[in-house]
């Protein structure tokens, strides 16, 4: 277990800590997630252990990456050290470690890029902050590139639009390519390739879990709501994070989706082959794995003969689906062109509400005073609906259609300015608990304001990582674990079953 640490203090009557905290050099230098075992690395196509000549190979891989991505090269070339990003990272605000300032994190990779791939760095390294690739650099990379959740908040404030997430993904890909992987991400990805989901939940267990849910929901509501698995010819294939089958409050969201499908009278199915929306390949910057995981979903959709694919409440999955699926696993011309491919479950529910296809009793949620946490990958890397900012508007409109009491957090902490939950980007692991608790601080500070001002008692999110992260970290900030729930839990509680179907 990790050493004891202090939970950051929250302040009264403010949404964001300003001025930012005074920095503490090396405050998080000890933070280092468990290293992947050889089987984990080999399972996803990387060397099992640190290879011979890794210094040279890492530099070569960096060269390949900048040659293959003009974006990455531009991000490494264009920083002017203006300082706009320095106080924008939740991990800096929560840990005070100056290496968690986005510019400093970028410089960990930039200094190597300069040394080997720029004229000035090759000839006058000391003048331009260029460093040789050595063990101390690798250790620093391993520590601090696992203190970035790739949430992209810093890039919103960078005048050049430098995306630290891309730099952090590249650094992790380089480390993986020389045999230094992170256990949490790599073990999980290896499981997806074999079993089909992050949990390693095999088909019989999934079928048993869904059967049990059907019994529970019928007992609770008196209505036989189905949770179909591997049903050929269903209209919709639902791709949702496997946490929705396993954990709380995720499963309440899954029950909500099922109630929506039930009342709308639309046939749907889950797939035991593609039983995972998450694609951790993005977190480790691995294009090959990204494609392989995405292809499972295409294959399942074709095999089941569905007309539509809908993605459940998972933040980075929606980024991968919305932004990358077509390139990775497209074209999706076998789906019904009348519907967006893919479609987010929130878009689906929103459309049904607009068409009057759902009977929602807002009073069923009167015990809830709700605020909404924009998940980073949905907010800053995707869209919903057909209007700009739809990814902010639709979830809120769905909540307001299902509940009477809604209160937004301060504007500088929501929409594109949203703070990461503190557990994104492949960091949702117990060995990083100190980082997670400290990284949650900016969100907890903004939350405290609406709790104090409006008696908010419910925090809604549409991301499996956010939900687990908050369930774990809310108690550190004196809030109950049960405060966090799924958006479709709120919807599901409001649906008046038996009034439409």
């Amino acid at each position: 277990m990790a050493a004891k640490f202090d939970t950051p203090e929250l302040f009264e009557n403010i949404a964001v800590i300003d001025p930012p905290p005074k920095y503490e050099e090396g405050a998080m230098a000890h933070s280092r997630p468990f290293v992947a075992k050889p089987a984990h690395n080999e399972g996803i196509g990387y060397p099992g252990e640190l290879v011979d000549n890794w210094e040279e190979k890492a530099v070569t891989r960096l060269g390949e990456l900048v040659d293959g991505s003009r974006a990455l090269r531009t991000f490494l070339d264009s920083c002017v050290k203006c300082g706009a990003c320095t106080d924008k990272c939740h991990y800096f605000l929560g840990t005070k470690d100056p290496k968690n300032m986005p510019v400093a994190r970028q410089d960990l990779l930039r200094s190597i890029y300069r040394r080997y791939y720029t004229f000035a760095g090759k000839h006058f390294p000391k003048l331009v902050g260029a460093r040789d690739m050595d063990k101390s650099v690798l250790d620093e990379w391993y520590s601090y590139f696992h203190q970035c959740s790739q949430c992209r908040r810093c890039s919103v404030f960078c005048p050049y639009g430098i995306d630290t997430a891309e730099i952090s993904m590249a650094a992790r890909e380089i480390m993986d390519s020389v045999g230094l992987g992170q256990k949490y991400c790599n073990e999980i990805l290896a499981k997806v390739h074999v079993v089909g989901n992050n949990l390693g939940l095999p088909e019989p267990a999934l079928a048993d879990t869904l059967e049990g849910l059907e019994e529970d929901v019928e007992e609770d509501t008196g209505v036989a709501i189905r949770f179909p698995l591997d049903v050929k010819g269903a209209d919709v294939l639902l791709i949702t994070p496997s946490a929705d089958f396993f954990a709380e409050p995720h499963i309440d969201g899954l029950i909500g989706y099922a109630k929506v499908f039930h009342q709308a009278g639309i046939s749907w199915t889950l797939s035991s082959y593609a039983s995972e929306a998450a694609n951790f390949s993005m977190f480790i910057g691995s294009g090959d794995n990204l494609k392989k995981v995405a292809m499972r979903i295409r294959d399942a959709a074709i095999d089941l003969g569905v007309k539509r694919i809908i993605v459940g409440e998972c933040g980075h999955a929606w980024r991968v689906a919305y932004s990358f699926w077509n390139t990775l696993a497209g074209p999706f011309d076998f789906l019904d062109p009348k519907y967006p491919a893919p479609q987010h479950i929130v878009e689906f529910t929103y459309d049904l509400i607009q068409r009057g296809a759902l009977n929602l009793d807002k009073e069923a949620n009167d015990h809830r005073r709700i605020t909404f946490h924009d998940s980073c990958n949905v907010a800053r890397a995707s869209r919903m609906g057909d209007m700009p900012g739809g990814q902010f508007i639709l979830p809120r409109e769905v909540i307001k259609a299902a509940a009477n009491n809604f209160f937004d957090m301060a504007p500088e902490t929501i929409h594109e300015n949203t703070f990461c939950c503190g557990g994104g980007g492949g960091l949702l692991t117990d060995d990083l608990m100190e980082l997670r608790v400290k990284g949650a601080m900016p969100r907890m500070q903004a939350l405290k304001q609406v709790v104090d001002d409006h008696d908010v008692n419910t925090l809604v999110a549409i991301c499996a990582i956010c939900k687990t992260q908050f369930a774990k970290t809310l108690p550190y900030y004196n809030n109950p674990m049960s405060m966090i729930t799924s958006l479709h839990h709120v919807v599901g509680d409001a649906i008046q079953l038996g009034t439409k179907e």
Partner: protein, 110 residues
């Protein structure tokens, strides 16, 4: 890492989960629980035993709902909820109880 129980050494991973679940026995479970500052009562054992039975059948720990339902049936409906399970296993029924039951840690966004 390793755990010493009754003069025997069993291998564990970095977080104390058994490397080989066939080595599990009640003494090992008690030793793991002790390291977690847990006093094993009969109700703790009900949970641990159910986890092991479920794992034998499905090669995975049960979902929280499956677990709460099973415990509700065994110990009474008032105990068939995650609040009760958290009282038994403060670090979370899924992870802490799995560790004591000698099962691998559930992975993913949980």
């Amino acid at each position: 890492m390793a755990l010493e129980v009754g003069g025997k050494t069993v291998e564990t991973d970095e977080e104390g989960y058994l490397e080989n679940r066939d080595e599990w026995n009640m003494d090992i479970a008690k030793a793991i629980a002790e390291a977690e500052n847990l006093d094993m009562t009969d109700n703790h054992w009900e949970v641990v035993n159910f986890l092991r039975e479920y794992y034998d059948e499905y090669q995975i720990a049960p979902a929280v709902r499956v677990l709460t339902k099973a415990i509700g049936k065994k110990l009474g409906k008032d105990k068939g909820n995650s609040k009760y399970l958290y009282e038994l296993f403060p670090y979370g029924p899924a992870k802490q109880a799995c560790k004591i039951a000698g099962l691998p840690k559930p992975t993913g966004c949980v």
